[in-house]
Symmetry: C3
Subunit: 477 residues, 3 copies
Amino acid sequence: MVNTQPQPLELHEDRFFDPDDGQRNIAREIFNCIKNLPIVSPHTHIDLAPFVDPSMGFGDPAKIFIQQDHYILRMLHAQGVPFEALGIPRSDERPVESDPHQVWKIFAEHYSLFRATPSKIWIDQTLYDLFSIRKKLSVDTAIEIYEQIESALRSPQFSARHLFSQFNIKVLCTTDAPSDDLTAHRDIQTGIWQADIRPTFRPDNIINLDAPDWRAELQKLCQIAGMDISSYSTFIAALENRRKYFRSLGAVASDHAVISPHTEMLSHQQADAIFRRALHAKITHEDAARFTAHMLIELARMSSEDGLVMQLHVGAYRNYSSSVYQLFGPNRGFDFPTPIEFTRSLHSLLDRFGRHPNLRMILFTLDESSYSRELAPLVSAYPALKIGPPWWFHDSLNGIRRYFDQVIETAGLYNTAGFNDDARNFLTIPARHDVWRRSSANWLAGLVVRKIIELDEGLEMAVDLALNLALKAYRLR
Amino acid sequence: MVNTQPQPLELHEDRFFDPDDGQRNIAREIFNCIKNLPIVSPHTHIDLAPFVDPSMGFGDPAKIFIQQDHYILRMLHAQGVPFEALGIPRSDERPVESDPHQVWKIFAEHYSLFRATPSKIWIDQTLYDLFSIRKKLSVDTAIEIYEQIESALRSPQFSARHLFSQFNIKVLCTTDAPSDDLTAHRDIQTGIWQADIRPTFRPDNIINLDAPDWRAELQKLCQIAGMDISSYSTFIAALENRRKYFRSLGAVASDHAVISPHTEMLSHQQADAIFRRALHAKITHEDAARFTAHMLIELARMSSEDGLVMQLHVGAYRNYSSSVYQLFGPNRGFDFPTPIEFTRSLHSLLDRFGRHPNLRMILFTLDESSYSRELAPLVSAYPALKIGPPWWFHDSLNGIRRYFDQVIETAGLYNTAGFNDDARNFLTIPARHDVWRRSSANWLAGLVVRKIIELDEGLEMAVDLALNLALKAYRLR
Amino acid sequence: MVNTQPQPLELHEDRFFDPDDGQRNIAREIFNCIKNLPIVSPHTHIDLAPFVDPSMGFGDPAKIFIQQDHYILRMLHAQGVPFEALGIPRSDERPVESDPHQVWKIFAEHYSLFRATPSKIWIDQTLYDLFSIRKKLSVDTAIEIYEQIESALRSPQFSARHLFSQFNIKVLCTTDAPSDDLTAHRDIQTGIWQADIRPTFRPDNIINLDAPDWRAELQKLCQIAGMDISSYSTFIAALENRRKYFRSLGAVASDHAVISPHTEMLSHQQADAIFRRALHAKITHEDAARFTAHMLIELARMSSEDGLVMQLHVGAYRNYSSSVYQLFGPNRGFDFPTPIEFTRSLHSLLDRFGRHPNLRMILFTLDESSYSRELAPLVSAYPALKIGPPWWFHDSLNGIRRYFDQVIETAGLYNTAGFNDDARNFLTIPARHDVWRRSSANWLAGLVVRKIIELDEGLEMAVDLALNLALKAYRLR
């Protein structure tokens, strides 16, 4: 039977809660106490341009919901939709779909692929709450919905600045390269519009000596730091120089993505020798890996001195498909997790800095088997460590449930770091926090009905999960 | 208190559904819509003899339910029952139990070992539905039930052909060696009795150069292909020759079992050198492993050309116990899983063929930690990949629940391959699909009551899980 | 809002059961049948001194609940409480807090850290049931509760011997070094007070050739065995000598902690050469690891001869933090799990002894991904193997649920070893068994309401889980 009538889009008040009446009622009660709390967003990939220049918009619906979203791109690609049909530019500049309406229609046609995925939950809620869409997205409704979104985006209520207030965002951090001059942050901080937006120091491309653009990044770093980086010592000095600059603009954290958390202390001579080889010739993978393993310790040393919270995102094999990377660039959904070992890998770092009173390090994993095996035990002993929230694929209803299930009994709630939305799409930030808050409320209600905690404890823990843990972990208060 | 009265065997209408009223009612509603759908069985180890020759039966109850079932054998062995007492022949031909009644009595005596295992679920349902047994299996009822089964098996309704129709099997695939002449398949296809039964190309013993029977297998392959296989080139040609023959008899898939999914491209010279060493001398484990790693890529290349769906079953350390293997042969329950890494291992293959429009590769794992970590992300991006259903130990109520829980949020439903029963015992096929369908219905009902999907979506997804996904994944329509 | 009124401490009759009415009622019914069964405690770290000398107490509340408990120490340390403030002695003898009241107050102040952790469950139940505390522990109630505990501990009902009867302990095993003369066990066995308390043979420090105190341990072993240990042969003879002595005092088991379960058979010459190198010089890590891998097989050989049940605790990287170990010693919460591979690792041992009718080996893991992947399959085939209960961090409500969920479908119930409390604090033994029994009852109730087992089966399995499986696994009957 084909529905000729478009079906209504609805968001149920009790969505995602367990079906048991007792648990659902308590979940609703807890959720109602936290749903309107301010949003703390300490780790995002948001582009600040629309905040700096209010005349700039977020782009068209296809860009916002499809072309910038690696979750959506990979799923459509897996089902045989070419990137070209989605309007993703090719490096060889051969033509790709240029009409965003067509891209949107393909998306609508394939929307059932996303059943039971977090992508659909985030998008449906954003369409409903933000754009007042009341019909389900389908081939029949695609263009009508596209136009409704586009029209809304042109209205003044959809300026980035207005939405920042409407979303009730208390603080938001971006992610930035050391060579970034942070003009956007400076402009906002010195402008009329006031908002707590902070940069984050992410030096991956300059620390990873065999990154394809390493030499170019180093050049940029030399320029912006006003230094000649010709040795390991000057490299370290340049990084410290930039960290100081980032902190002067409010940065509270650094961010580091590594495929392995292996740490290994090199002597100054060894580090310098590798660095100089990288400067003057093509470096081996082994050299680059050892340098990264050393730099993690060096970065922990810097954090213990300047207080930047060190975020460690572990396990992604990035740009896995050569052909996708060459033709369509990074962040197209071709980054895949690998198994991760933390205990032995972090030993060298933790033995030096794990008990340092000023170090704060937040660990993120793509290997859920490490939650109960390694991360929960480690963070429950080392004062420097916190475990970050479920990351990437695991920022989902089941992923969050497994996280609570596997982490809290060993780590306790108070060695966790609250929630990160990790958003690239500013418009979905409320939906992502809503899923976290609903999941938190439902988990806590489960503890209450099983008489593991009492309701007043659950309410306090819910506020901590929504707000306080993130503020505290990132030294934001 | 000992029960002197035999207890009734019952199958509850709502078995395996969650106890919550709301969820159970929806689960029942969904299940009722799919329970009578035809069975698609694209991966089995069924012996076709009883289909070719209707006068042949399936054997006695001890053979059917015990001696052929590695799940049953291992559990009894673990509890101290010698294989000899179960009538498993010894390679040294020393005497073993020859009376199937005695074997059945031992089984009945130990039947409580199987509480809460899938084996008991499959057997109880088969006894109840197929053999109309209404008493629980126990020492007291053992012989009565044995005789009831035996008597039923002699009736015409229990011919393999009759049951094939009764089970409502739409299509069934067997698993066959390249050297198999597929006489049974030809006989069925040219006979009066019509049924969609297809062979599957499984060349493990000829690709694994250090398999104990490799030289004998190669000899058989030479004969059946009518070729002199004296080099890597002729080896590849012979495989392609056999694939063509398998396809001519309806094969839609190949099947490959490897302990590691490591892939590595060798040059023609390297591959040829290893192959020639194997021909002329005993090969090293390293050489054999490299050859397998290379052949996986080569087999993907063949699949991309001839369209056979490539099934990859990863992680079993087979014939682990030397003494069991030597005395009692393979498939006695002594094959054990190992940890598996997919992302790095498959890179070489996927970078070559992962985006090829004609490759289809279905991945099966024995390491559940790879579901959310690697398999779901990989299949959600690569058009060539699907994730197979829970395999072996994980084809169980909890195993299926964990699979849905860990796979679907990232992979979506439509990058999965539906269900395989992997049956060796033809008589249990309906029971195995029943468990899958009940588990699917219950999982979907859980999504409906949590307002993650709507009921009409759940009904559609249930039909996909029972039928369409398997048909599509195996290119059966 | 600050509560000025101390809140009542309550233990709900149905705590930890699922909220569904049907399941909860059955769980309660099952639990009521097992809650008063005797306690079997085959693996503990209990100090026997208070049993030998009834005038000795257990120490003050701070010692009992904080200083001896690595779960509590690590959590407070992680939240910035120095070990010194908790009264943990420093190896450099610099002063630490000496007033147990102060230590207890710090604990009370931080008690909310333990929300939803097993530590809080065990302590709350012990405070309520054993000490009749009826107020929640908080800063306000800390001293009052401290004094109530202290006063109770001085009463005759709180003698170790009295509590042993009150707890209804049928049998309890301690853990002891080969060089221990087991005076306490002898004294109890020859004294007036009768109790089934047995030693366990744990030779880790003498088998691990690079243990820091190895030479001293060897010296002690020479003395107590009255042997000159100058070769591998005499080393083996000394171990066998001590096993015999342990068995003469009722030992039923040995215990072995290894970071990896790797096994590898060395020739006598190889083993002797490594052992002599250790005697005469500092040994390499590689040598020590190979010797351990060899000794596991040798210990299995001994067990197959003398019948001691071999417990294998795998995966802990002990004394991870150099500074904590040097200043505060072992067992301060700085032992962390690592990933574990069992299948390949145990092959050499299992191929020799896995089917030996007299070997019994119980496997414990800190890596939950090995439950369904390796342990359940292995124990479901090898008669020598059982899987031990959830260990350490995993002895928790969720840990136990995951264990049942991932182990039983493949292993069956009857290849498991029941429960170990692994207690260091004698007073919490009833609480730890209570959590296990409640979790068992709830899990079985879940099977009953899903029609996977019937209630009478559930009741029988509950008794097995509470009592019979442990007795049988440890050959205690």
